[in-house]
């Protein structure tokens, strides 16, 4: 396990090095002054500019400059947003939890719907229900997320009036910012309207989370179907059958557990996909998350925000990958011996 951990850590370090290198070079590639792109201080006076040049060591060689840039990032200084002139680290800390919350709920929905459906399809392999589930998965995977989002708003918000179309929660509720994960903040708050707020927040998250969940759910269907078919064909299942275990016993005791291990590895991969979908969905549903912020930064040509936002987001996704790798390794001892990484 120790070598496994060390290998992951070194992979993390090198990937981060490459990522920071890319984000560092973006400052040179974007139009405008490099040091202003680094820091985001568009209204800097001459003395402030001199200080910035000093801080980012712009007069030294490019390697020293990169070192200075790294030091700034490691100190948590991501520069300030050109558009709002507030520190990017603050904005990210405020917005990232909202995206994580939305993605987690979507992931949960995708798993709760996708995996059982995939198992059902595998158990009924080559029967009508299998085909129905597979065609649903194909259909769901092909629908573009922004179109689905608009349809969902049109149908559920405007047509039926069941669910709200924008935001995290009705603006009437004042929830103090503690963790940024809204449901936790609501439970921590001392508002007399706690439960009203909770139900309101739940109704706000349903539509965007379901829209995001659709594509990953279809992937989970196919993954779990394939994993289950493979497991059901394995010799220990045949042995179990031969021992006279009932069908339910085979499925619940042996098949599901072993099929799930295969799927968990892909959860991490799907999370990256999910965050990408969440970025588009956040724009449609006015969800105050990092994706909407990043897309707005692009349209406002807020280079510092784009550069630092991308760095933070990719770093976050990478951490998620490593975490799922650890979970997988903990569940499946065979994986720890894998000498070639993943």
């Amino acid at each position: 396990m120790l070598t496994f951990t060390l290998r992951r850590l070194s992979l993390f370090l090198f990937t981060m090095l490459v990522l920071t290198l890319i984000s560092f070079s973006l400052s040179f590639l974007f139009p405008g002054d490099t040091v202003i792109n680094h820091s985001g201080q568009i209204n800097a006076t001459a003395t402030e500019l001199a200080q910035l040049n000093e801080a980012y060591q712009m007069d030294k060689s490019i390697f020293t400059q990169y070192g200075a840039y790294l030091t700034h990032i490691l100190n948590g200084d991501l520069g300030q947003s050109m558009a709002s002139q507030s520190p990017i680290s603050n904005e990210v800390l405020e917005l990232l939890p909202a995206t994580i919350e939305l993605s987690l709920v979507a992931l949960l929905i995708a798993m709760l719907v996708g995996i059982p459906l995939g198992f059902i399809a595998a158990i009924n392999h080559n029967k009508a229900s299998d085909n129905a589930i597979l065609s649903f998965a194909m259909l769901g995977y092909s629908i573009p997320v922004f179109w689905l989002g608009l349809l969902a708003i049109l149908f559920f918000s405007i047509g039926l009036g069941w669910l709200p179309s924008a935001g995290k929660i009705s603006l009437l509720f004042e929830i103090e910012f503690v963790t940024g994960i809204q449901f936790i903040d609501i439970l921590l708050s001392e508002s007399p309207y706690k439960w009203q707020a909770f139900s309101n927040a739940s109704s706000h998250i349903i539509l965007p989370a379901c829209v995001i969940a659709l594509a990953p759910a279809t992937i989970f269907i196919r993954l779990s179907r394939a994993a289950m078919i493979e497991v059901l064909a394995a010799s220990y299942i045949r042995a179990a059958k031969a021992k006279g275990l009932s069908f339910q016993q085979i499925i619940f005791r042996h098949a599901i557990r072993n099929a799930l291990i295969q799927i968990i590895r892909h959860v991490g991969l799907q999370f990256a996909n999910l965050v990408t979908l969440a970025m588009v969905t956040e724009v449609i549903f006015s969800w105050p998350g990092i994706g909407r912020w990043l897309i707005e930064s692009i349209s406002q040509r807020d280079y510092t925000a784009i550069q630092s936002g991308l760095l933070v987001l990719s770093c976050f996704i990478f951490i998620v990958h490593i975490l799922t790798d650890f979970i997988y390794a903990a569940l499946n001892p065979l994986a720890r011996g894998n000498h070639h990484g993943s």
């Binding site: 708003i153 918000s157 405007i158 009036g161 669910l163 709200p164 179309s165 924008a166 935001g167 009705s170 603006l171 009437l172 509720f173 004042e174 007399p192 309207y193 439960w195 009203q196 909770f198 139900s199 739940s202 109704s203 009932s246 339910q248 016993q249 619940f252 005791r253 006015s286 105050p288």
Partner: protein, 561 residues
């Protein structure tokens, strides 16, 4: 193993049941939910500050004037007569130069997290508020830029000699000359009263600019929270000097995109929406209503009277006769505007119903052109403004329609448009031949139309882009301002309108309406007669059980404690 599956099932149904109960609300004990005591208003933009003195933008005064502040006097009733507000009563001397206000003695300022008042409203606050605008040496004059556009446009500093404090609850304005629009100016959304005590405390803290960002006023609501581009949250001012507002919380949901506003309205995420689109869709729904208010504005087609051929009155008349106004209104305003017969809207008290209107008559237009010596027609340009305004939602389309109309009498039209600020700059330099523009009045006094749009002084430096200057017309406006006799004023303005109709420096086209949509459960008047909005009278009807409405104030009181 059957036991295990049972367990799965029961756990599943249990979670489902608890989820449903959360979604349907566990608030049985709390009869009036938060949403029934609050209003969410989908507004069109972020205000620049919370002080209407500093801006003429509708967004800023909507979010501040009637919500956070009061003025000394207000317009009341259908006839728009002046009534008391923070001033109990007032007295004007016979020469019209001294106006004394007797102030209320029971007015509380807001108590908020950033300021706690120790005294009631008095004469010092009035002096503070007006001296900030008038006195260049006032400690707060230059805070937040030192620009007071409304007061500058009505030449307030040139009119007011000084403001005196007679005693704690009496103030006197001394004017340099008699001006009958003075009281009207004091009743606008811009002439609000700030707290002098708050100003002092900010000065001590060396944070004077906060006076316009964290406002303290006497109005029915107080500011709780403002996040630029996202929301403004107001709480009710419980010590309001009149009966307190019926709702406890007012939230402005800032949604600049008009489709987002429509979606939120349809999805019931906001109770009231500003400037809605898709009027037909809204009127079709039984749970929404659409209201409109004819604004005090006019969209017009102006001529540069200093340039050929429009220095000739006959040409101006001919062109005006050749334009089919009704078609413009049907197409450009989608019928949602009143046809303008004069520059003054018909809702104004000074409007003379006998003013003749130029009718659409291309035959007469053609003959007039012949008389003027342009039998072969000519080529002209029309400058169409590039932005949308209530008084002209689409100037380029309008210009195209006019182009088609004028072709019939042999006049070729080139349409010119620039980016907005360039457009205005070039217009002020007089590079144009004719132009499409408009005017929105700041208060209902008719002078606010006549003087800024067409007087000689505003043609030199101001908003008169026709460069038309008529001594007789100016004389009539002066006489109208120096009397307070309404009938006399009305007759002066009628004569002025007749001169405009004869000379046609511009052709008034339409007075547009301001629209607003709301859910049917929202009761009370929101759109004020003069542009602004006020949520003071608004209440939400509980749809479920009407018995609760009676008990509402009491419950609301308890909850706010």
């Amino acid at each position: 193993m059957a036991v295990l599956t049972m367990n799965f099932k029961s756990i599943f149904s249990l979670t489902l049941a608890s989820l449903v109960s959360i979604l349907t609300g566990c608030n049985e004990g709390n009869k009036l939910s938060l949403s029934e005591r609050s209003i969410i208003y989908c507004s069109e933009g972020s205000p620049e500050s919370f002080n209407p003195q500093l801006s003429t933008s509708g967004t800023t005064s909507d979010a501040s004037a009637k919500q956070l502040y009061n003025s000394l006097i207000v317009y009341k009733g259908k006839k728009n007569t002046l009534g008391p507000a923070l001033a109990r009563s007032w007295h004007v001397t016979r020469d019209g130069k001294k106006i004394t206000f007797y102030l209320r003695k029971d007015v509380n300022f807001h108590q908020t997290s950033y300021f706690t008042p120790t005294r009631l409203f008095n004469a010092d606050d009035v002096l503070f508020s007006f001296n900030r605008v008038l006195d260049k040496n006032h400690a707060f004059h230059h805070v937040s830029g030192g620009q007071y556009p409304f007061f500058q446009s009505v030449k307030f500093t040139e009119l007011v000699e000084k403001v005196e404090k007679i005693n704690d609850f009496t103030v006197r304005f001394i004017l340099k000359r008699n001006d009958s629009s003075f009281l009207a100016n004091l009743a606008t959304d811009y002439a609000i009263i700030l707290s002098e005590e708050y100003g002092q405390s900010l000065q001590k803290k060396k944070k004077p600019h906060e006076i316009d960002i964290l406002p303290i006023g006497t109005g029915p609501f107080k500011l709780k929270d403002y996040r630029v581009g996202s929301l403004i949250r107001f709480y009710r001012h419980d010590e309001y000097w009149q009966e307190k507002a019926k709702i406890e919380q007012l939230v402005f949901d800032i949604s600049p995109s008009k489709t987002t506003r429509l979606t939120k309205l349809l999805a019931k995420e906001c109770d009231v929406s500003s400037y809605p689109i898709a009027h037909k869709k809204i009127t079709e729904r039984s749970d929404l209503t659409l209201e409109s208010m004819t604004s005090l504005n006019v969209g017009y087609f102006g001529f540069n009277t200093k340039k050929e051929p429009f220095d000739n009155k006959l040409v101006r008349q001919a062109i005006s006769l050749a334009i089919n106004k009704q078609a413009l209104i049907d197409t450009v305003y989608q019928g949602q505007a009143a046809r303008a017969k004069s520059i003054l809207p018909e809702t104004s008290w000074a409007y003379d119903s006998e003013t003749p209107e130029l009718t659409y008559d291309p035959v007469r237009a053609k003959s007039l052109l012949e008389v003027a010596g342009y039998a072969q027609g000519f080529t002209m340009d029309i400058w169409a403004m590039p932005v949308q305004r209530a008084y002209n939602p689409n100037a380029v389309t309008m210009a195209k329609l006019i182009q088609a109309d004028l072709k019939k009498i042999g006049v070729e039209v080139k349409i010119i448009t620039y980016e907005w600020s360039t457009f205005l700059r070039r217009l002020s330099q007089g590079e144009h031949q004719s132009f499409l523009l408009g005017w929105t009045a700041d208060h209902p006094d008719p002078d606010n139309f006549f003087t800024p749009m067409l007087s000689c002084s505003s043609s030199e430096k101001g908003s008169n882009r026709t460069f038309w200057c008529n001594k007789e017309y100016d004389q009539l406006l002066q006489s109208a301002l120096s009397t307070t006799n309404m009938t006399k004023r009305k007759s002066y303005y009628a004569k002025a309108m007749a001169i405009i109709n004869e000379e046609i420096p511009l052709l008034p086209i339409a007075h547009s309406k301001r629209f607003q949509a709301r859910g049917v459960d929202v009761e009370g008047k929101i759109l004020e007669n003069f542009g602004g909005i006020s949520f003071y009278d608004v209440a939400k009807r509980s749809i479920n059980n009407d018995v609760n409405t009676l008990a509402q104030p009491e419950i609301a009181d308890k909850a706010s404690n």
